[in-house]
Amino acid sequence: MSGRALPNPGWGPLSALPGNPLMWVLILSELLVFTAFFALYAWQRAADTALFDVSQRELDPLMGGLNTLVLLTSGLCVALAVEATSAERIRRARQWLSASMGLGVGFCVIKVVEYADKLAAGLTPETNAFFGFYYGLTAFHFAHVLFGLGLLALVTWRTSLDNVETAAAFWHLVDLIWILLYPLVYLLR
């Protein structure tokens, strides 16, 4: 970075980070929280492998994979909205933000269908430790998706580079957490 202007002068160690420095504090803290949950899941799985294996068979990894593709495409739309805002193409930025929100809603619909399927089969958070983790981790992530959708709606209304960059950073955090959660809960068996 030497020789280049810092993106956020006056923010101490955070001044070298692009976008809103406080959003990076949130990203780092959220990543640490999820890392702790993932570690707890891995530990519990090692303690009761047979139960986790049997329970994991009830999940649909294709639905999870589809949701990964949807969320990553939504992330692309948000990143393109930042590009458009930076070029002062506000109308185009709002179109990208709307596309991103549409895909985010699509993610939620797929997740709700998945929850409904599991609940109809009598699989609740109280069924066993695996389903406790499954509902806990995915619902915590789901709450982040809903909050992110609210942020995206807000910056679609109040479109400025700072606002869109900040909301985009949160949305990418939601992407990042799902990228780590998907193989842990759905794929590794």
């Binding site: 993106p7 980070l17 692009p18 294996d53 930042v82 794929l187």
Partner: protein
């Protein structure tokens, strides 16, 4: 002002992320009707693809490439730690089971 990645780089990254997701799903042998534990190489491939996806997302979507090497290292290090914990737990479960 921070330099943004540019449309071409974003599209290339998106294509990479989609391809890696499909590779993860294929590695996890979702096409097989019967449920079986993954061979260790499959699990390793799933984790490697996940790590590369997280790195691409951090560097391009979150534009961490514009930050200092220390910040890049800190975030990539945290992702590697997370994957090591996931992989370690998985390995212990597999070897014990």
């Amino acid at each position: 002002m921070t330099a943004h990645p540019g449309t071409r780089r974003l599209l290339a990254t998106w294509a990479t992320l989609m391809a890696l997701t499909v590779i993860s799903m294929v590695s996890a042998r979702l096409d097989q009707g019967d449920w079986q534990a993954l061979p260790l190489w499959s699990a390793g491939l799933v984790l490697a693809a996940t790590g590369f996806k997280a790195q691409r997302l951090l560097m391009v979507y979150l534009n961490l490439r514009a930050a200092t090497p220390a910040w890049r290292g800190a975030f990539v290090g945290l992702v590697v730690l997370t994957l090591a914990l996931i992989g370690g737990g998985y390995l212990v479960a597999r070897l014990a089971g």
